[in-house]
């Protein structure tokens, strides 16, 4: 049940009507519906994995209560570790077992020791990384005394399984979502209409930009040996745009659907391509994951390494981004992706600019030349890391780089024709970036406050609907971040 599918449209319409017209009397009824709806939504993908989701919820709910009740620090730590082991254990088993076994075996075979360990044929449950991180942050926050454990099992289970954010985030922390689940939601007209706008913008980015980019990038990346360096550069550019449009499009939809049912969940993207350095980029890209890692990995590590000064910060950031990379999947390409981003931070740490924040272009329409140059440089740095991210393995990534930086980089690119031509696609990518630039101070690209007349505003929405109908890919294409 993709957000862009007919099944979801029917499911959500029924859910919306039941939620506001039948279950609106009290918070309990609302939460029952949220929980049942979330389980139905999840079971639609594969009902067999529902048991893992429910078990995770129950185990962490009980552990949360006991961690709070226990006053003995050692016991609190022990309970916390049980929770961490459960979460990380599930991730290790389902997501990383084969990767570690194969890497271990390859490592020893390098020294001519042949170790054969059986890998397991296992499917990764959808959304596992997302709901595991939610449950871990919940226990950590209770143990640190930042939040109180909820006594309502239904609230906690709804927090873990909250369907708009269940499969690909945003990864809401308990202190953001649980208080909202504990209070009765009252319909907010402005929140709901803005939610609809955000959904529309998300769908546009996903089906018009991302899916059409995919038709070209898949061809280029799958046959990179046959293309010139200049074409590979375009492939990398389009894949970077595809990643953004796909994932931010999904996040916009998730936030929009949450708003329609009265929730304000964590923002996941803040126009990251308008960043002037890599630190700013990560404050604007996959915000919920970055802030999760900052709070639970980077900050504790930088405190632990504080005696090492800037070197300690470098260690902390490298470890942080290695975890960020491997969170995406069990492949050395993701590890390298994380390491590359970690390394990008080193100049910022050494020059003390890591936490420097600036407002791009101020109130002006256009950025200054230096701002534009910094934005472009940041984009190019990010783009090069997405080559590794997209590659099947490290060898393929290096071969791609080798071909990209060959003499054929100075040649006329021969971009394969996708469903749309490259020029047409550029037109729409440019339009998307322009609209987002104009709305860069807002929550999403389609907050059309400047258009006052309703007819004009509605005409803009109708035109976006039309573009979706005219340019969308007709077969269902899953979101990239579902596999993580």
């Amino acid at each position: 049940m993709l957000f862009t599918s007919n099944e979801f449209l029917i499911f959500f319409t029924a859910f919306f009507l039941l939620y506001w017209f039948v279950c609106d009397k009290n918070v309990k009824h609302q939460n029952i519906l949220v929980l049942l709806g979330s389980y139905l939504f999840y079971a639609w993908w594969d009902w067999r994995f529902l048991s893992i989701l429910i078990t995770t919820s129950i185990v962490n709910f009980i552990l949360g209560i006991y961690i709070e009740k226990t006053t003995v620090p050692k016991s609190r730590k022990l309970l916390l570790w049980i929770g961490l082991l459960q979460g990380v254990g599930c991730l290790l088993l389902f997501k990383y077992f084969n990767f570690f076994v194969e890497s271990f075996s390859n490592f020893f075979s390098f020294f001519h020791f042949n170790i054969h360990i059986q890998t397991i044929n296992i499917i990764i449950p959808l959304g596992l990384s997302y709901y595991t991180f939610k449950s871990i942050s919940y226990l950590l926050d209770i143990e640190k005394g930042k939040i109180k454990a909820t006594a309502e099992w239904m609230v906690f289970c709804s927090y873990i399984a909250f369907f708009p954010a269940l499969l690909a985030g945003p990864i809401d922390k308990a202190r953001t979502l649980i208080p909202q689940l504990e209070q009765k939601r009252v319909f907010d007209y402005n929140l709901a209409t803005d939610g609809l706008r955000q959904i529309l913008w998300g769908v546009f980015k996903k089906v018009v930009i991302a899916d059409n980019c995919a038709s070209i990038t898949n061809h280029i990346f799958d046959n990179y040996q046959h293309f010139s360096g200049s074409t590979l550069l375009i492939g990398a550019f389009l894949y970077t745009i595809q990643m953004y449009a796909d994932f931010s499009g999904y996040s916009d939809m998730a936030i929009g659907f949450s708003r329609l049912i009265g929730f304000n969940i964590t923002r996941n993207f803040d126009f990251p391509f308008f960043s002037q350095n890599i630190a700013e980029f990560w404050r604007k890209w996959h915000i919920s994951l970055t802030s999760w890692l900052t709070e639970y990995v980077f900050t504790p590590l930088s405190i632990a390494f504080r005696d090492l000064g800037k070197l300690g910060l470098i260690f902390a950031i490298i470890i942080n981004f290695t975890i960020c990379g491997i969170w995406h999947g069990a492949n050395w390409t993701y590890v390298l992706f994380g390491l590359m981003h970690g390394c990008y931070f080193i100049p910022l740490i050494l020059t003390g600019k890591m936490n420097k924040r600036s407002k791009i272009a101020g109130n002006k329409m256009l950025p200054s030349f230096s701002e534009a140059a910094r934005m472009l440089a940041t984009f190019v740095l990010v783009m090069f890391t997405f080559i590794v991210f997209r590659a099947e393995n490290i060898t393929q990534a290096f071969n791609y780089y080798q071909r990209l930086f060959s003499i054929s980089l100075i040649s006329i690119p021969a971009v394969p024709k996708g469903y749309l031509t490259f020029r047409t696609l550029l037109l729409f990518i440019g339009s998307m970036l322009l609209i987002e630039w104009l709305n860069r101070e807002k929550e999403h690209g389609l907050q059309l406050g400047v258009i006052k007349g309703r007819i004009f505003r509605w005409s803009v929405y109708a035109f976006i609907f039309f573009l979706i109908g005219m340019l969308m890919e007709t077969s269902e294409t899953p979101f990239i971040y579902f596999k993580f």
């Binding site: 506001w20 007209y189 709901a192 035109f463 609907f465 039309f466 109908g469 005219m470 340019l471």
Partner: protein, 328 residues
């Protein structure tokens, strides 16, 4: 909440009206590369427009051919004419049972054939039928069966093309359209056939083409099976004799598909008159085909004569040559 629902309910008709206006304007003025989901190919590459125009005028034929490209490229009315049979070929590119059913509903009465030869191949049962639907929507009238077909396909291309074709027909905008009878190497022959300029298949080059893996396990689409059953019923109700044939393809393609037995069993369960010519004819993969799927004119002649003379099989001999109402 009331305000929200009222606005949503107001926005829906506004959206539908705007969508229609944008679609008409886009279809009329936007360049082709921006019309990804509006495929209005009047004429098309297989002369559907001319075929439909002819079908409207033809009456009481001896044989009607139905099916996909193996049909309109595989049964030459001139060869049948030479044997004294008046035929019409209603085949079209990637025609699936969904479109065959509509064509039968529209033209069976006036064509009024004595015999129907339906070329069946596993492939059309696996297709969604969108390509053929767009061809039909652009080249034939828009009526309730067109709407039903679009709803069955539930595909945005089908919806867009349906609306745009309806608009063009409403204002008779294609009045005066004259289709080219010769398009590149293809020549449309009166009676629905498309003749390819004689060329030969290069099996080596064909090997590079990817054989659709979906053919390896034949799982037909449910709505295509339902449409197929309805076709059988329409023909049975009209009491018209029907023969199912599978036209020959290259051995390379035929042998790749490991569901032949399953497909043959499926068709045989529906009729006693089914001939799979891939088992009966010994054609040359290169000399008798212009690509891995389609016979060239030389191959068509051999195939059609085999069908007409009936030397190889008692089955089609029986059906074609002894059917009392058919024999002239």
């Amino acid at each position: 909440m009331k305000k929200f629902l009222a606005n949503v309910l107001l926005f829906i008709p506004f959206l539908l009206t705007s969508y229609f206006i944008f679609l008409i304007a886009w279809g009329s003025f936007a360049p082709g590369h921006l019309r990804k989901n509006l495929i209005y190919g009047i004429g098309g590459y297989a002369n559907m427009y001319s075929r439909i125009c002819e079908a409207k005028k033809m009456h009481n034929v001896d044989i009607l051919f139905l099916g996909a490209s193996h049909t309109y490229r595989g049964f030459d009315p001139r060869i049948f004419k030479a044997y004294g049979y008046n035929t019409f070929n209603l085949g079209s590119p990637n025609q699936t049972p969904l479109q065959t059913e509509i064509l039968l509903e529209r033209y069976l009465s006036n064509l009024n054939p004595k015999l129907i030869i339906y070329e069946v191949h596993p492939w059309p049962f696996l297709l969604d039928g969108v390509e053929s639907a767009l061809d039909l929507l652009a080249n034939d009238k828009i009526d309730m069966s067109s709407v039903k077909m679009a709803l069955t396909l539930n595909n945005v291309k089908a919806y867009n093309t349906l609306i745009y074709s309806w608009y063009r027909q409403l204002f008779d905008l294609d009045n005066g359209f004259k289709e080219e009878m010769k398009k590149e190497d293809d020549t449309y022959i009166s009676g629905g056939y498309v003749e390819k300029k004689l060329s030969f298949n290069s099996p080596e080059a064909e090997k590079k083409e990817e054989i659709p893996v979906t053919l390896a396990h034949w799982k037909p689409k449910a709505y295509q099976l339902i449409a197929f059953e309805r076709i059988l019923k329409i023909i049975k109700d009209k009491n018209i004799e029907m023969v199912f044939v599978q036209a020959p393809v290259t051995k390379m393609v035929f042998n790749v598909f490991d569901g032949n037995d399953k497909f043959d069993a499926f068709i045989s369960s529906k009729t006693d008159h089914y001939i799979n010519f891939n088992y009966l004819m010994k054609l040359d993969d290169s000399l008798d085909f212009f690509d891995s799927h389609h016979l060239n004119q030389q191959g068509v002649r051999v195939f059609n004569e085999a069908l007409l003379k009936g030397k190889e099989t008692q089955l089609h001999n029986k059906v074609l040559m002894t059917h009392a109402s058919f024999k002239k």
